[in-house]
């Protein structure tokens, strides 16, 4: 069992991992596997970062278990264990419903090709060309082309096709038409290749299995333990101050936000002027709002799909999707199959949102806006489940302020940073020896699969440093 405070930790570790998002968990596991003594600290009482859940009156609400790519299967086998891999199951019923089109899809390349050619009447050659182009994109390729330009090149003037291709990715990682085409290509070719998958047993089960594996590999885990400062002396990491206690270490992997790591944990004074210049263009991504709906025990929902991308906005519109009163939201449906044995249904509506819209509201207005958002989500969901109001016995909303409170992320970002953040994250240790960052950065290292794989990449960097 993880310790519930830093008190029980030893005085010294080879590595301290600050934060237990999927990236931090994976780095900790990899480094322990490689033979290092690892301390994992988490300020919250629960591990998982945004891969989390909460319980209300018998309901279990998943925050970010909406669907991940096929690549998770191999990644979980290699970097976690077979039991975790074996719990991954496919979601077959993905729905789009907006004024431009209504479709149902298995969200893979074959089905998308068929939809684009038969339904949207796009020439087969253009579709194949598009898929080949995005599949060949690398993160080091030219990034001056925007996603908008990419879409215009292959599907000129087709705002319906652009919406089909962009909308799910905007929900998945907060990117939009203005982001580099390569970030789109890399994420899209991962996602739309072989369908959408989920974790049978829910987020709680996944994190429980990961904790079991970490403990088996000898990682010391301390929750309720907030790292206050990374102690750096003469350009090298010396230790971490955690709840007033100094833990000695030569290597820190921060799974806090990249800007939190630089500004709050290390402090700008630890970096060169040149490096500080490099972080100027780093922008954090947008945040999210969610509405959680718990279905009364004994009630059932018909299968209306696993993931519904819905909007009543006339076309895909970046600003519309971020607006407090957006008409665009995804519904994630959790049927009893999500948690076999736990015979309950929940629905989570997710929207993109701007931190600044919510953060400045006076308390009364804030509460009122949350109620209005719950109401709008119910009205939307009634189109698919007419008696949803009668079936619900729990309604609750989260805003960017909620995300900020639990993750401590700068401006409550739910998708890390835009593209520039990747280079900064990966070059931290050139400036401060022994300091590494893992977490959602650069759009491509985002989502459950991105976070876990980035955890492996950073573990490799840290391992190279520790053995040098």
């Amino acid at each position: 069992m993880p310790y519930k405070s830093i008190e029980n930790a030893a005085d010294k570790y080879d590595v301290v991992v600050i934060g237990s998002g999927l990236g931090g968990l994976t780095t900790a596991n990899r480094l322990a596997n490689a033979g290092h003594r690892v301390l994992l600290t988490e300020h919250h009482h629960r591990l998982g970062g945004l891969a989390t859940w909460f319980k209300r009156r018998g309901h279990i609400f998943d925050i970010s278990l909406h669907g991940f790519p096929h690549g998770m299967i191999k990644t979980c086998r290699k970097y976690w264990n077979r039991a975790i891999m074996d719990s991954i199951v496919q979601l077959n019923n993905i729905v789009f419903d907006n004024p431009q089109f209504t479709i149902r899809t298995t969200f893979d390349k074959v089905d998308f090709t068929s939809i684009l050619t038969n339904r949207f009447k796009v020439a087969r050659a253009s579709v194949d060309d598009f898929f080949n182009t995005v599949a060949g994109m690398n993160f080091y390729d030219d990034r001056t082309m925007t996603t908008r330009e990419l879409f215009e090149q292959f599907f000129p003037g087709r705002s319906d096709v652009h919406r089909l291709l962009m909308e799910p990715i905007s929900y998945a990682n907060g990117s939009n038409f203005n982001d580099p085409a390569i970030t789109y290509g890399i994420v899209f070719s991962n996602f739309m290749n072989k369908g959408v998958f989920t974790f049978s047993g829910g987020t709680d089960k996944l994190i429980e299995m990961m904790v079991e594996e970490l403990e088996k590999n000898g990682v010391t885990i301390c929750t309720n333990s907030r790292a206050e400062r990374i102690v750096i002396d003469q350009g090298r990491v010396r230790g971490v101050e955690i709840d007033g206690r100094f833990i000695e270490t030569a290597c820190v992997v921060s799974n806090a936000g990249i800007l939190n790591t630089i500004d709050d944990l290390a402090g700008r004074a630890s970096f060169s002027a040149e490096f500080l210049e490099k972080i100027k263009p780093v922008q954090v991504n947008n945040s999210s709002c969610q509405v959680y709906m718990g279905i009364r025990e004994g009630e059932r929902l018909n299968d209306i799909g696993d993931l519904l991308f819905t909007s009543t906005a006339p076309a895909y519109d970046v600003d519309e999707m971020l607006d407090m009163e957006t008409r665009s939201r995804t519904f994630s449906l959790y049927y009893p199959k999500t948690r076999p044995g736990h015979d309950r249904y929940t629905v989570v509506a997710s929207m993109n949102a701007r931190y600044d819209d919510w953060a400045g509201l006076p308390e009364e207005r804030y509460q009122k806006e949350k109620e209005k958002m719950i109401e709008r989500s119910l009205v939307d969901l009634e189109r698919y489940i007419p008696d949803i109001r009668q079936k619900c016995d729990w309604l609750e909303a989260a805003t960017p302020k909620t995300f900020q409170r639990y993750t401590l992320h700068t401006k409550g970002t739910s998708f890390g940073t835009k593209f520039e953040g990747l280079e900064v994250s990966r070059s931290l240790f050139n400036d401060v020896k022994g300091l590494f960052h893992v977490g959602s950065v650069g759009i491509i290292m985002s989502g459950w699969l991105g976070a876990i794989n980035y955890g492996v990449i950073v573990a490799n960097d840290a391992d190279a440093y520790l053995r040098s």
Partner: protein
Amino acid sequence: MTRDEIKDVVLEIIQDIDEDGEVENLNADAPLRDQLDLDSMDFLDIVMELRKRYQLQIPEGDYPELASLSSCVNYLEPRLKDV
């Protein structure tokens, strides 16, 4: 280590990564990526495993040297000669 021993080690590491891959009949001169279900993460795993076993540091710029079985052996031979 001899060239054959190095080859066996590389194949053993690859087999752990790609359990279903048929490593016996690989064309040694063709890219591993084209013959097995390997992606860039898998190559990182090879690098990390070699470091763990032999304290061998392979800089990121040298990763392309691991593209095929023969290029792996050529690259590793001088570096593992005293192992």
